[in-house]
Subunit: 361 residues, 3 copies
């Protein structure tokens, strides 16, 4: 039976390795899909990613320094360029070719540093796992905050979480999910499979807006709003969130891109660290442009605090699954989108295994 | 050879899962014999015990809330009654029978919450492992304190400790075991096997009472007392202690239940958590009814501090045993009661294995 | 392939178990080559070393007390002499011979407590692994400080570190290795194999003395010195260091033992704890006898701080090696002495294995 506690991740995919603002001249060590890498940046250059292990004595390169020549090992000074080639060995003229280290294909754009973890020959900037997220670049209209959390759970548990929002009135019952529990559970929900995952939208019409929305959008005290929650999962790690509300009668269902309501976009990406832990990257792109910087900061902190409530459940769920990882679970009605997401991953894994089998035969 | 570091425990037995006062509307997670359970209480009801894992997505139920319907999972709201039946799935009418979770037979009385960890069909309120301990209910005459410690050792190492009191002048040499070391070692000792374990009583006649006793019972400065230490092991986890002293000449050997001396009962129960850790539950029932509440508190704190001295040895002993768990040990004369206790457990384990073998054939 | 992360150590050798001043009447627990031992001292006697496990109930003897009779177990009072013989069992006349514990051959001299971890029959006070280090006894001319660090790396990684000083301008680039990086890398280096390891000496002629040297030896502001770094590795754990400088023209190459320059001897010994951790013992014997005690203290602290910089690299290198312990590394020119040191150990291990094979056949 499948070990649902430690689902693997497809290797031939782009994974979010860091936010651009994390990658500087001070090398950053991170483990992605069980591989230790070091991310760094030559001044004025794009991010570079190498394996975090010097070819000479196996010291982490992340303990070294960025120099003019490249990333210099902090132990005996061997230096590597962004292709992983060894370009300098102190006290020695000739450089043996086996002194190189592995480098990773990288695409840096829109605030994301994407790393290709599979066969470098197949790294393709048009691959569907490389996400276009223009809102990070449109900070006039979508002021952006970048968030990061380390979570001790398999990456798919976070995707599962985002594929079933009926968790909100339970996990978040003491915060954003307070109030009418069953009203939130029974929101209208439309789910459709996509070639790369699953898409759903939930509508709650003519409801009282939640306090966060009132504060952000300035709805009147007795206003009723039409509220939406649109989520798209793009395998393996991306969930695009667009949530918001407009006063009822303004035609939210026909056109959500109107001024004067509440508008929030969130990028969610849970990059596997090991098979039982992940890096959770998220943005908060606030579309309520009337808000001050302080308002934006507060909204971001509220969102982060909400995610910490999820984190507590996810880490405990992981531990519970590991105790008996092949024991069956019981699906319920609200698992539909979650099941589509899982099937997408299962398909990607099967395809990758098929390719490997063909390559090996 | 037997692995003496990680002796298993018989499953068909009652184990002390918690003190009654620990079980409230706020669910309590605990691991008993390697099983994760959640203990909770509906207002005004007896304690209930379920496995701590929701059937839907394997989240610990202990992260949820007690509601009118039962224990509600904090992730997506599935709700279970005290039999483990799923009684509510948000947004769904029909409830599949496989959505149930395991429930455990429970007996709650005299301040104890007893859990049956074996075959539920065999759970029997007359089973000898369910202990009668009336002193907890007689708080007029035996004011009671409840104690708990987590100890990283196999449960039998604690029973071993209590079966050989010659450890007192050594482990407790800086506290209650100070003074005449060999006098304490050479106390008169009578040991007898019982159907459920072993019983012994130690007498020290015409000795100077220890400071704790003087303080509690108000013995005269030059008083000599006859002091007893009576212990009964009832497999697998119970040790009943009755210790005390009367002024010499008052006939302690004929009748220990006289006013005016020192009287202390302690319930000891080391419920296995894993095979290398246990929950140590203990009471302090002080029979010196002339003492104030502050005196009782102080006595309890002194006892707890003494047990912390044992804990240091037990955890180090466990680590030492694990380094070479099948290496032989050397028995000495004072191991007699300890050996009887071990044999009782060995017999219970062999019987249980025999039943299982018969059932499987 | 060899697992280079966890190289074993020869057992038939003397290992530095403690500094003499660490061994007192308060027993000291330490793990040496994966064996748990207890070191203690009867008042006025030499250090004794026993296995740290009572034969009775497997409690660590290090939790006990030194008594007139010997080391007494803190649990039930069994007592052992320095040969490991059980000499006392409370409450029991006869002592079974199997109650003894293992004792270790010990040589204590010059501030070192040497332990023989192999076959006791072969323990030989003339064995080349027992080092003569007279400077610790000559505190008039060589004021001595004793240092200790626990490092989570295989012992040979520390020896590797000391066999290639080109690490100094890199690991210590922010402290003692600052300044002319390539000047330090390209110092003249003479390496020769010895029957017990390897010896090398590095010379830097007519250079500006480093600040530490100026401070200690009082060199003039514009002085040029001839500086040497002499290191000898004596397998398995010893590295003898003698470093110093004299004003150029005073003939340092012909005679280094002149007054008025900088003189420092360091004993380095990395005794294996487990195959992935070691005890790093080091002395600082300052030959600049004009210095005050406060100067000596400061020099020792500076050296210790430098070693903490090494420690960070060594522990990270160990972790990196463990991730893929058989993956090949790339040797460079400056690895010559390191490779000789490794080969000495490989030879000792092969010899020991050969003896064992002969003994078993």
């Amino acid at each position: 039976m499948t070990n649902i506690a430690t689902l693997p991740a497809p290797r031939n995919a782009w994974y979010l390795g860091a936010w651009s603002n994390e990658v500087t001249e001070k090398p950053l060590a991170r483990t992605i899909l069980d591989e230790n890498v070091v991310l760094y940046r030559q001044p004025g250059s794009k991010a570079a990613v190498l394996e975090d292990r010097c070819s000479h004595r196996a010291t982490p390169l992340s303990l070294g320094d960025v120099t003019d020549r490249g990333l210099q090992c902090g132990y005996h000074g061997l230096t590597f360029n962004s292709k992983g080639e060894c370009v300098f060995i102190p006290g020695q003229e000739s450089i043996p070719p086996q002194a190189c280290v592995r480098s990773y294909p990288v695409v840096e754009r829109q605030g994301f540093v994407w790393i290709w973890t599979g066969d470098p020959e197949q790294a393709d900037a048009n691959h569907p796992t490389l996400i276009d997220y223009p809102w990070n670049d449109d900070t006039e209209n979508w002021p952006t905050h970048y968030g990061y959390m380390h979570i001790k759970c398999n990456y798919m548990l976070l995707n599962d979480n985002l594929m079933d929002l009926t968790h909100i009135p339970f996990i978040h019952r003491r915060t954003i999910g307070g109030g009418n529990q069953m009203g939130q559970v029974n929101a209208e929900m439309k789910t459709r499979k996509t070639p790369t995952g699953v898409h759903y939208i939930r509508w709650m019409d003519k409801i009282q807006p939640p306090p966060t929305y009132v504060k952000a959008a300035g709805f009147a005290a007795d206003a009723k709003v039409d509220r939406w929650q649109e989520f798209e999962y793009i395998a393996p790690i991306t969930v695009l969130q667009w949530t918001g509300a407009l006063e009822s009668g303004r035609g939210a269902r026909e056109n959500r891109e109107q001024d004067g309501g509440f508008q929030l976009r969130i990028y969610h990406g849970a990059t596997p660290e090991t098979d039982s832990s992940c890096h959770y990257f998220f943005t908060c792109n606030n579309g309520c442009t009337t808000q001050s910087e302080a308002d934006n900061d507060r909204l971001f902190r509220e969102i982060r605090d909400t995610f910490l409530e999820d984190l507590e459940f996810l880490e405990n769920q992981q531990a519970c699954l590991e105790d008996d990882p092949t024991r069956a679970l019981v699906d319920i009605k609200h698992d539909t989108a979650r099941i589509h997401a899982r099937r997408t991953i299962d398909r990607m894994l099967a395809e990758e295994e098929g390719h490997l089998a063909v390559a090996a035969s």
